[in-house]
């Protein structure tokens, strides 16, 4: 029994979410093979070979895989995957995009965003925006699964010594083409990997006021997130959104500023270790999940907090 893990990367570096996925694979048990599909991704394969617990790295390096278009990558994974008991990918936008296509090609149901491994065929996953936890059993010959990275610790990025095997198999459907990308630039830690996250909501009133949160975040070495209300109002770009339809985070400390705490937002952060809420409405639902609540005007409290730390 061997497990195929799809590496998440940008052709230059291995993404942290892959390490959490490797841990999930270790809990299932079996040899772990890491697939790096990309273009000019040799460095990623080198990094993947160092990951503790990885037995083999498969490198599919071709222009057809440069942007990991699912029309090209999914047939490759489905073809390779037939020889494995499980195919795992991180529940990132890439993993969510590619893996259901693989599952359909293998004619099996997929299990999305698992948060725990019960046994080799049974997994736990949240449904209804995290308001219920389903235990799902798969009878598929090849189990196709995406992994919520906040549910598993990261495997050690060093200590492994896997062999790298180059694949010659190229699948190019010709049905899709990459046009462009616009990535948001930030010096702050990536939201899903940050130990501390400071998030702002509609209470911030405008995008300019987020500078108070940035100042606090820089002092704490924190990532900055936002509620859907703040994103929809155009205060900040949408890749900062934390929630059911945005990113799922589980940092050590989550500071929610001017966020009411709608179900959809709680789904993205309620597994944080310590939650702090700063809101002037003492009836706000966020206080029901907050370990420490401060009823105060955020425009006074946030700068004061920044000075006090």
């Amino acid at each position: 029994m061997a497990i195929l893990v799809i590496a998440e990367h940008n052709n230059a570096a291995l993404a942290a979410a892959t390490l959490n996925t490797v841990t999930a694979a270790q809990q299932i048990g079996g040899d772990i093979h890491l697939l790096v599909a990309g273009h000019g991704a040799g460095a990623v394969a080198e990094a993947a070979a160092q990951v503790a617990g990885v037995a083999k790295v498969l490198l599919a390096d071709n222009a057809a895989y440069a942007h990991q278009l699912p029309e090209n990558v999914a047939p490759l994974v489905a073809e390779l995957g037939k020889g494995y008991s499980h195919i795992l990918a991180a529940a990132t936008s890439n993993g969510k995009n590619i893996l259901p296509r693989v599952a359909a090609q293998l004619d099996v149901d997929q299990i999305s965003e698992i948060i725990a491994v019960e046994s080799a065929d049974t997994f736990k996953r949240p449904i209804y925006a995290g308001n219920a936890i389903a235990t799902v059993q798969s009878s598929a010959a090849v189990k196709v699964i995406t992994v919520r990275s906040t549910g598993f610790d990261a495997a050690a990025a060093e200590g492994g010594n896997a062999a790298i095997e180059a694949l010659s198999l190229v699948t190019d459907s010709g049905r899709s083409a990459f046009v462009s990308e616009a990535l948001a630039k930030s010096d702050r830690p990536e939201l899903t990997a940050a130990k501390i996250v400071v998030s702002g909501g509609r209470g911030m009133q405008n995008g300019d006021n987020f500078k108070h949160l940035y100042a606090l975040a820089d002092k704490l070495g924190a990532g900055v997130g936002a509620s859907r209300a703040a994103v929809d109002a155009g205060f900040v770009p949408n890749d900062m959104q934390v929630g059911q339809t945005g990113k799922i985070v589980a940092p050590q400390l989550y500071i929610a500023v001017g966020i009411s705490g709608a179900i959809q937002h709680l789904a993205g952060m309620k597994d944080s270790k310590v939650i702090v809420a700063i809101n002037k409405d003492e009836e706000a639902p966020i206080f029901q999940v907050a370990d420490y609540g401060l009823v105060a005007d955020l425009f006074e409290a946030v700068p004061e907090l920044e000075r006090a730390i």
């Binding site: 990535l183 370990d291 401060l294 730390i309």
Partner: protein, 249 residues
């Protein structure tokens, strides 16, 4: 060209669901149901394509029990031309639904199929991708912008680091992100008109689709509850607690 939008009947997004005591599922009796929010956006996008003169006909389709007719009528009131109900159980898996939709796509031959990126009940985020795989079409998932040019569609997608734009040959599958558009409200005259629009019902058997699933839900339970916290009186007290009690800064 013909555009198809797929919709799903789900628990209204404002409802706080309760897990049944026997662990068999979530209690859906007497709970308000509605069209899945991502599906509303799919219908809105299809109707806008028609208003721009790009689409000639908008067909809406759903898979579910007969009560899902309500959501089809809603879609018709929003501007769809006709509706198809594939009458089946309400709790089918994504693969079975994708196979049923594939059979409908084969019959209707739309140039573009728009689905929501995920249903807010199962939170699977699978059906559009599976439909694309089964039909061999390209997929533009998590779309925040859709533009049709001649025989291709350009889709801007929400990805983890920002946005990505891809071009797909038609026919193609698109799944909607929340930012694609702002769905309209159905007016009363349009709701009345929708009652006269055609609604066809088909069965999985007639479509020749097997509904076998490789997934089985063993148990559904409530998530671990967070213990209630405390309210602090000042920023100084907050910092003191975070440093000495929670030890997180």
């Amino acid at each position: 060209m013909k555009v198809m939008a797929a919709v799903k009947r789900v628990v209204d997004y404002n409802v706080k669901v309760r897990v049944k005591a026997d662990g068999s599922g979530v209690d859906l009796s007497n709970v308000k149901m509605a069209m899945n929010p991502f599906c509303e956006i799919a219908v809105e996008e299809a109707v806008r394509l028609k208003e721009q003169g790009v689409a000639s006909e908008v067909v809406v389709v759903t898979v579910g029990s007969s009560s899902a007719q309500e959501q089809l009528r809603t879609a018709l009131a929003l501007g769809a031309d006709r509706a198809i109900l594939v009458e089946a159980a309400d709790d089918l898996g994504s693969l079975a639904i994708a196979k049923l939709l594939k059979a409908v796509v084969d019959k209707e031959q739309p140039q573009l199929v728009i689905l929501g990126k995920q249903a807010i009940d199962s939170d699977n985020n699978q059906t559009g991708q599976m439909l694309a795989a089964l039909s061999g079409y390209g997929q533009g998932t998590f779309a925040s912008n859709v533009e049709i040019r001649d025989d291709s569609v350009t889709v801007t997608r929400e990805v983890d680091g920002g946005a990505q734009t891809v071009s797909l040959k038609l026919p193609a599958i698109v799944t909607t992100d929340l930012r694609l558009n702002e769905p309209r409200y159905a007016s009363l005259p349009n709701i009345m008109k929708a009652k006269k629009k055609p609604l066809e019902t088909v069965t999985p058997h007639a479509l020749g689709v097997s509904l076998v699933s490789t997934n089985k839900t063993v148990k559904v339970e409530a998530p671990a509850a967070r213990s209630a916290g405390i309210k602090v009186k000042s920023v100084a007290e907050l910092v003191e607690k975070l440093k000495n009690e929670a030890k997180v800064i």
